[in-house]
Symmetry: C2
Subunit: 410 residues, 2 copies
């Protein structure tokens, strides 16, 4: 019996068999495919009982609803099943009663992207692909790099020549072959696409590869289980290309259709003011993305054209979603507030969702008793340079108790 | 019934009651105290059955043998129970059969130190201490900062004025009060000690606080459980002040005395060549530490006088320990090898233990079938600047398939 029914185009709805590796032939790269499962079949396996007796504390506990036929490509790195904290000190501060923070910076390479990579690498191995590639300078790149190293898979990562050296360093440490492209990110992306076609490499890009988002949806499954199947009213996430929030929405929908949960959350898309194509388009109730050069400190979500735009619009429409735009100042301020009330230090893109929550609270758009879950998608150590902009270095003092008394005002 | 019998001086062996907060009155700060438990009592609670039925997947699963009377100070941050990987690709590369890597960079603030801080903060809360302090610029500081933020505990961190801004930033993000001391680390340490006495703050320093190492020992407990109570022949760790390896040794000894394991590992202390006071002293079979100005890229273990020297000498003597010194080049090279064969990216001090393993293999001092466990104590993202020294940035190329073919030699 097969788990997967077919792959469906997220733009036009056309169905494809699993022999199609990437996007819809008619819509091109805009038509990313979505994996549609035989949920009646899966229902017989994936039950609350099954989950309760499952000792695997990583995303592979959801194997019955992951797009893999075999376990050969499963990484030893422990990915997923990240902590979900009830943020009590934060609740008091914000005068809310039910805030849950999922710290996905605790993944192996310190970001949410590891969920996608784990599935992508496993699929590459299942398909006997010997080489995998990606264009990125950010979390997708370091994630691919680390997982490929762990599994011993050759990999090429296309990076724009101007990318920060710190980010390139991590890829080189892991032994990736870094192709430093004379050009910007878009050039690197297109070049990677071309090279993948030419050399038959497997492309780890959520924009065209339908399986990566299947890893992302597991964050929703975990939230369901960690909240004992009581679904939060709102699920807040930072949004760039759109595949992360779309993946998480897919997860909730699947658990709903499997009868494991009895309601769905409202999805809240938070974007940076300077990079908000998804939110703009959704608010206009349109399906056309107009381009603006993106500009935000939150580099992982600094997106001009959202490469998974239709998936995220679908998610927002289906969940009667909400959008919030936040400024860079609000993002940096949110970084401090989150760290100071929960101990979770997130990178700018990782805390953009939280900045959105703070804005909703300020506007009075959240009821006290409403339950809110949000995912922090990357560790603050990934971008300490940005964090520096959020704080002020103190003056130095002499090692003298009198001076100290004055300084701290005791 | 009381868990703790007494506190024992690690230098002279004198016993103290729990009313003593810090070090031995006769030996001064050299006489750090060690918590001695009533193991006959604990034996009745902490059994294999107890552990098997314990669903807590963090270090609090060992509560029966942790120095806390109550759960009030337990942090919501999920600390400990980090993954232990059987490193199969590495085994093949090194022609060994049993290598286990414990990735403690997966802790909340990305280092092994979180184990100590979790217990230290809980103890501070139990003792009704309102303010906690430390002198550090490294992992102990960021760890204290993050956990104190999570628990809402006021804290002062004494930092030498020359400390890297990136490290200070994290403390400021968490909202710690940073005292930037006009002087070096030793000045900051002494000033912190004085201020703690003067103002009654609780001091989070493994050098004088007996409870912190109690958190560290839990790594040993986890290794025992994760290996199904089959103890590795060698336990390899990076060593600076000495309290981490001493803590882990204490963990093994306690499980041995509780009858949970039937043998003990040989402890292997790996230090940087330029900061090896523990290894020098042990090899001379001495108990006198001679001072040399420390110099190594591995800043967390760059130590001139080991502040927990007697504890680590005891651990090495009791386990017939082994010492290895490694150069900075070997540390940087080990960083790459570890990342490339396991996907685990460690900071320089985090992979120094692994550099020691590589050296032992090179010297032929490890048998193929021997089992070796090693702890990676900190995430590589903590010190990307050092990682940059280990790799070379590639040349940039034009986005052209012909160029790419030439470049990658296809």
């Amino acid at each position: 019996m097969k788990k997967i029914k077919h792959l469906r185009c997220s733009k036009c709805g056309k169905n494809f068999g699993e022999e199609v590796l990437y996007h819809c032939d008619e819509c091109g790269t805009e038509g990313t495919l979505e994996v549609v499962y035989d949920l009646d079949f899966i229902k017989t396996k994936l039950t609350k009982e099954y989950l309760k007796n499952n000792n695997r504390k990583d995303l592979w506990r959801y194997m019955p609803i992951l797009p893999l036929k075999e376990e050969r490509g499963i990484t030893p790195l422990q990915v997923g099943w990240t902590p979900l904290y009830k943020a009590e000190r934060l609740e008091k501060f914000l005068n809310l009663e039910n805030i849950y923070i999922k710290d996905d910076g605790r993944n192996p390479t310190a970001s949410f992207k590891d969920r996608a990579t784990a599935v992508g690498i496993a699929k590459a191995i299942e398909l006997d692909k010997k080489i995998i590639c990606a264009a990125s300078t950010g979390n997708a790149a370091s994630s691919l790099s680390g997982f490929a190293a762990c599994m011993g898979i050759e990999n090429y990562i296309f990076v724009p020549a101007g990318a920060p050296e710190a980010k390139i360093t991590q890829l080189l440490i892991y032994g990736s072959k870094v192709i430093l492209v004379d050009g910007d990110y878009d050039k690197a992306f297109d070049f990677c696409l071309k090279a993948a076609e030419e050399f038959g490499w497997y492309n780890r890009s959520c924009a065209i590869n339908p399986y990566l988002v299947e890893g992302k949806k597991t964050a929703a499954f975990e939230i369901c289980e960690q909240l004992d199947f009581k679904i939060p009213d709102k699920l807040i996430m930072s949004v760039g290309d759109g595949c992360s929030i779309a993946g998480v929405w897919k997860g909730f929908k699947e658990f709903y259709e499997l009868g494991l949960i009895d309601r769905l959350p409202q999805m809240v898309s938070v974007q940076a003011e300077g990079a908000n194509p998804v939110n703009r388009t959704y608010r206009k109730n349109s399906r056309e993305f107009d381009y603006k050069t993106p500009s935000t400190i939150a580099d992982s979500i600094s997106v001009g054209i959202p490469r998974n735009g239709y998936k995220v619009l679908n998610a927002l429409n289906e969940s009667r979603g909400l959008t919030v735009d936040v400024s860079d100042e609000e993002i940096l301020s949110a970084m401090k507030t989150l760290a100071r009330y929960t101990g979770v230090f997130g990178e700018p893109a990782g805390v953009t969702g939280f900045a959105g929550l703070l804005k909703l609270v300020e506007e009075g758009s959240i009821n006290k008793a409403e339950s809110v879950a949000l995912i922090v998608s990357g560790n603050g150590l990934k971008d300490v340079k940005s964090a520096m902009k959020a704080v002020q270095k103190p003056e130095k003092i002499k090692p003298d108790l009198g001076e100290l008394r004055k300084y701290i005002n005791i």
